[in-house]
Symmetry: C2
Subunit: 160 residues, 2 copies
């Protein structure tokens, strides 16, 4: 029987952490009025729909690239057809499932391996994954400001 | 000789990740004009100085609490005397050193232990630490919007 040594964080727990963040971002998408999701921004920044395009184009495709060690270039083309919040949320949920499936293909040893994500980001896999999470938290923080500026109370940050 | 088993992330690497984020936040503080650091906000949110009070009151004091297993309550009182950006940056740098010192007192086994941070957040220590990082990325993302609204180019997100 193989017993796992003490871990700073286990793969299972890191997935739960990531999906907790993704669940919160989903609530932020939901909180936007339909038209503001596509049209509202501050200081010429991207509206939250465009930020969501980026998040969707990283999370599941990037993990798939990692699992298959396939350095396909980054593209947002699979999100360009999305024109309603409902479509975004559906795509979000599909990504959630794909992430859960692909995550099972990662062994503890993989996280320290270097991989050239999108043919562009050559880092240990754990740092690519941290980047997905941090980038999502970063853009979601911007979404919080958009919601506040729209007079909408964002979901609690600690609600995952 | 003790060899460490494969890790999703090592303690050393997690510290480097955290301090990389803190270095970026430091550059965001630097990017604000003195008066806007204290006075500018959007939609009634806290100016970036107040957000920084929160970040300073969590990072080093929280880690100290963890290392000593001391559930002292959260307080921002040690940051209330700060009235210039230079003072904030000095406090930031002092925290950086204290964090590096206290981090050395954590063993791999500690990260999975439950601790009641600030007498209020009873979670495994790794999740308290993830919370510090995520909360900083979240508020810094808001700072990026403030800078954009002020017509100032924020530092690159991936520059740590």
């Amino acid at each position: 029987m193989k017993t796992l040594a003490a871990q700073v964080i286990t793969p299972e727990d890191l997935l739960k952490h990531w999906q907790g963040h993704r669940a919160l971002t989903r609530r932020v998408i939901e909180a936007f009025p339909e038209k503001d999701f596509f049209g509202f921004s501050i200081a010429g920044m991207r509206p939250f729909s465009k930020l969501t395009n980026e998040l969707l184009s990283i999370a599941s495709p990037a993990l798939k690239g990692i699992v298959n060690r396939d350095s396909q270039p980054f593209t947002e083309k699979d999100t360009e057809e999305l024109t309603t919040k409902a479509q975004y949320l559906q795509k979000w949920d599909e990504s959630t499932k794909k992430i859960n499936d692909n995550w099972q293909k990662l062994a503890v040893e993989d996280f320290g391996e270097t991989f050239n994500l999108f043919g562009q980001y050559e880092f240990p896999i754990i740092h690519n994954i941290f980047y997905f999470i941090d980038n999502e938290v970063h853009h979601r923080g911007q979404g919080y400001v958009y919601l506040r500026a729209l007079g909408i109370e964002p979901p609690f940050f600690w609600e995952r």
